[in-house]
């Protein structure tokens, strides 16, 4: 995606970003679209968490995203703090065809607001917008109350099938919530690529200068650019509890 090489070195900084959200809403697919510009139908569920990096060129600087894509399954919930603890940005994803996934997303937002770094930039992302009929969301979706039907619809919604509208979360509802909580908000499709780059660019732009660090604030080698002398809120990876292993 955003990768035409800069003519001259621009300041470069790394941004730690975590993806959270219910399993199967499309977190890994969004990352894959952003990093590889690729999409897979019937992707197998993530196990544990995946770590990927991708550069994003802004007019004035280069952002290197260090992305944690978490699995979203309940049993991994207790590991989540490890991934968001030092994050400067979070993408909280839900599936616009599944209202319960928005509820789950709201829980994540609340947890981040309580536990993550105070300045964390949060984007709420409604994914699978390709499954909505055109304009279906903007008008509010007449089936907005049809919560019970949603889980059943998931998986059976054959894409493009006679243009049926699988949307169960109206754009309005999610947008109102996002505004209230001061979140960035996007509806995306990892499948078609709609709005995916935009989410990451918006996040890059929303990160306050003051919280930007040099590349690899965590983990060792510095391969690019100068280290910006900024408040390093976090102590790097050595911080944090070491307990918790049963071996």
């Amino acid at each position: 995606m955003a990768d035409s090489a800069p003519a001259q070195p621009k300041p470069s900084s790394s941004v730690k970003l975590v993806l959270l959200g219910e399993a199967a809403v499309g977190k890994s697919s969004l990352v894959m679209r952003f990093v590889n510009n690729d999409f897979q139908e019937n992707k197998e569920p993530t196990i544990g968490a995946a770590f990927l990096t991708q550069k994003c060129n802004l007019p004035t600087r280069t952002i290197k995203f260090e992305i944690w894509d978490t699995a979203g399954q309940e049993r991994f919930a207790s590991l989540a703090p490890m991934y968001y603890r030092n994050a400067q940005a979070a993408l909280v994803v839900y599936d616009i065809t599944k209202p319960s996934s928005l509820t789950k997303a709201q829980h994540w937002v609340a947890e981040l607001q309580r536990q993550a770094s105070p300045g964390i930039v949060i984007a709420l992302v409604g994914n699978k917008s390709d499954l909505a009929a055109v304009n279906g969301g903007a008008s509010g979706g007449d089936s907005s109350d049809d919560v019970d039907a949603a889980p059943a619809a998931e998986g059976e919604t054959n894409e493009e099938e006679d243009g049926a509208d699988a949307r169960r979360v109206p754009t309005k509802t999610a947008k109102a919530y996002a505004d209230e909580e001061n979140l960035l908000f996007f509806e995306t499709s990892a499948k078609t690529g709609t709005n995916v780059a935009e989410v990451f660019t918006a996040i890059a732009n929303a990160i306050p200068e003051t919280s930007l660090k040099g590349p690899r604030g965590v983990g060792g080698q510095t391969n690019l650019g100068r280290q910006e002398e900024r408040v390093n809120l976090v102590g790097g990876r050595t911080e944090g509890p070491k307990e918790g292993c049963a071996c």
Binding site: A23, S28, V31, M32, V35, N36, D38, Q40, K43, E44, P45, T46, I47, G48, A49, A50, F51, L52, T53, Q54, I67, D69, A71, Q73, E74, R75, F76, L79, M82, V218, G219, G220, Q221, R237, G240, P241, K242, G244, C245, A246, C247
Partner: protein, 639 residues
């Protein structure tokens, strides 16, 4: 695989490492010196280093060779009352008697002078050497101890009966390509085996056809809670499997009431094997020819996968709180791993059959360089470090007092190379997992990075999206008990890979990966063998030639694995286990041979004489002996 071992087992043995290491370094070459002390049938077992064929039972004096496929019944064992511990073949009863007579006479007359053929072994109790091996067998190596009696039956070369091809073998030429008689029904069923079953329509109109689809599957795995709640089924949704679950549940409770835990029963052409493990009942329903023991070891692997996701105590806690607990929720995402395991079993897995691992063949010096690099770059919290190339172990680094359990490694390999999740995801992975063979009570954390062999020092962002296991994937696995250890291990990985790059190991590994497995004729020029499995019992590792071209197709390979499975069952079925056996079909002839040191299974076209087969088997053993430190990882890197 028999995954009941736990971490304690490795403890007490650790002190013996130093001593055993010496023996272990050279486990097979000392032919003359050892062996005799273990040969319980003295007198018959003078050790000789001469090259002699493995013992041969006499060839069947039957002409009904078209009666090709031996019975696939699962209960063959009790059918041969007099065959305890003796070689068996697919013989008529009379022939068997004859053979026994022969062997007895033999052993009386020429017993002491008969050359024997088994390689010495460093220690009588194979498991004594275990803790120097990087992978450890839990099962006490099947009690093979030193019982050598079935070495009896050696045929002197001159006694070889007329070669098989005299006996009406016109068929042979037509079937030259395949080792098995055509079986289109099976081919058809096998091709469809892995297809999804349709959903039942809302109006139920297609219920019949869906049920038929379900029944036509060759193999089912069901997991249910002891309260009867479905947890996992390889094929079909809850609605579909309710019938089977009901039936199985009823049977289980019936037998449990009788304080006799149900093991297996046959219904129609299907064999049911049930395994109860604490709060779970695991069921295999198979129409393939697999023994109960083999099905049980498959169920064991599925059970280990569940523990690997949950750990034993947490699973028990869930059920203690509520017997009707729905385990599917905490297992979410594990179905793909269970199904990958299940499908591996259905396709036929030498690794599971033998409870052993395969290694990438490397020169000893090359492997040492890799081992040393692992040791040198080892980071503080590292527990196990592995380099794995397309499911074959390249190198291991481990603490002295911990071995790796083959069952645990099988789970890891399944996750990385069979299930698509990790492979297809791109990037690096940080995976909490319990290795139940190591310790079933807690989690370890595994760092996974796949290498791009052409640009190994760059992170591989875009892996070839094909999931067909193109075969050249190399993964670095670094396992730690520290859940915060990701970046530490990531740094280790960077250092490791850059050093492997510098010292040429990456190229060496890449070359070995591209080379692939040898063909039978690479192993032994002119060998009549089409395939073999050689398991080193001490190392808990196996090696084999490539499946192609003879067993490239899924169904052909399955038939080969069926054959191996039957031979394996006959070597291991208690109490009638044997140390050597043959199977003769119209189109193939096969041999299985167990010594305390190894198990060998091999197959050749039906035109091959027994003598030629035996000779070929011996040549394989010689080859492995020569190449042992290349085909197997011996000791590994220990810290």
């Amino acid at each position: 695989m028999a995954g009941t071992g736990d971490a304690d087992a490795s403890g007490p043995r650790a002190e013996r490492d130093e001593v055993e290491q010496l023996d272990f370094a050279n486990p097979t070459i000392n032919v003359t010196q050892s062996g005799s002390r273990s040969a319980s049938v003295s007198g018959v077992s003078t050790i000789s280093t001469e090259e002699t064929p493995p013992p041969l039972p006499p060839r069947p004096k039957r002409s009904d060779l078209l009666d090709s496929r031996p019975s696939t019944s699962h209960s063959t064992a009790p059918a041969r009352p007099r065959l305890v511990s003796k070689a068996t073949t697919q013989l008529s009863y009379t022939d068997t008697q004859q053979y026994h007579q022969d062997s007895k006479d033999d052993s009386l007359s020429s017993g002491t002078s008969r050359p024997k053929r088994f390689f010495g072994f460093a220690s009588r109790n194979v498991s004594d050497t275990d803790d120097t091996a990087s992978v450890r067998s839990v099962a006490p190596t099947l009690g093979a101890g030193g019982d050598m009696e079935s070495i009896m039956g050696d045929l002197m070369p001159g006694q070889e009966k007329p070669p098989l091809n005299i006996l009406g073998h016109v068929v042979q030429d037509q079937e030259a390509e395949s080792l098995f008689l055509p079986d289109p029904d099976f081919d058809e069923a096998f091709i469809r085996e892995f297809d999804d079953i349709d959903d039942i329509d809302a109006d139920g109109s297609n219920q019949e056809s869906v049920m038929l689809e379900w029944r036509s599957k060759l193999k089912h795995f069901l997991i249910l809670s002891s309260a009867g709640k479905p947890i996992y089924s390889r094929h079909g949704d809850d609605q579909l499997i309710t019938n089977s679950i009901g039936l199985v549940q009823t049977l289980i409770s019936f037998y449990q009431g009788a304080s006799d835990t149900l093991k297996g029963f046959t219904a129609g052409d299907s064999r049911f094997v049930v395994m109860s493990k604490g709060p779970l009942n695991l069921v295999a329903i198979s129409r393939l020819s697999e023994s109960d023991a083999q099905l049980k070891s498959q169920l064991d692997a599925l059970y280990m996968q569940i523990l690997s996701t949950l750990t034993l105590p947490s699973m028990e806690r869930m059920f203690a709180a509520r017997a009707s607990y729905d385990l599917r929720r905490p297992l979410e995402g594990t179905e793909t791993l269970l199904s990958a395991l299940a499908d591996g079993f259905t396709r036929g897995s030498p690794s599971t059959l033998l409870s052993a691992l395969e290694c990438l063949k490397l020169r000893k010096t090359h492997r040492q360089v890799v081992n040393n690099t692992l040791l040198k770059t080892r980071s503080e919290s590292l527990l196990y470090g592995l380099i794995v190339a397309s499911g074959k172990l390249v190198s291991v680094v481990r603490p002295k007092k911990h071995s790796l359990h083959p069952g645990d490694l099988h789970l890891i390999f399944n996750m990385l190379f069979e299930a698509g999740s990790v492979k297809a995801g791109g990037g690096e992975n940080w995976i909490p997992l319990c290795l139940p063979g190591f310790n079933n009570t807690g989690f370890l954390y595994m760092y996974v990075s796949f290498l791009d062999l052409k640009h190994p020092t760059e992170q591989m962002q875009e892996r070839p999206s094909s999931k067909d296991g193109s075969g050249d994937e190399v993964a670095i696995l670094l396992i730690s008990a520290n859940k915060e250890g990701f970046f530490e291990l990531r740094d280790m990985r960077d250092e490791l890979v850059s050093q492997l790059q510098k010292n040429g190991s990456i190229d060496v590994i890449g070359h070995a990966v591209r080379l692939g497995r040898p063909s039978c004729t690479d192993v032994v020029p002119g060998s009549p063998l089409r395939h073999f499995l050689y398991k080193s019992r001490g190392n808990v590792q196996f090696c084999m030639p490539k499946f192609r071209p003879y067993f490239g197709g899924g169904a052909e390979r399955r038939r080969l694995m069926d054959l191996y499975g039957r031979l394996h069952a006959r070597l291991h079925n208690k109490p009638t286990s044997v140390n050597i056996c043959h199977e003769t079909a119209t189109t193939n002839i096969s041999l299985a041979w167990a010594t305390p040191l190894f198990e060998l299974y091999c197959v050749a076209p039906g035109t091959t004489s027994r003598a030629a087969l035996a000779q070929a088997a011996n040549k394989v053993v010689q080859w492995v002996r020569r190449e042992e430190e290349r085909v197997f990882i011996i000791g590994g890197a220990v810290f």
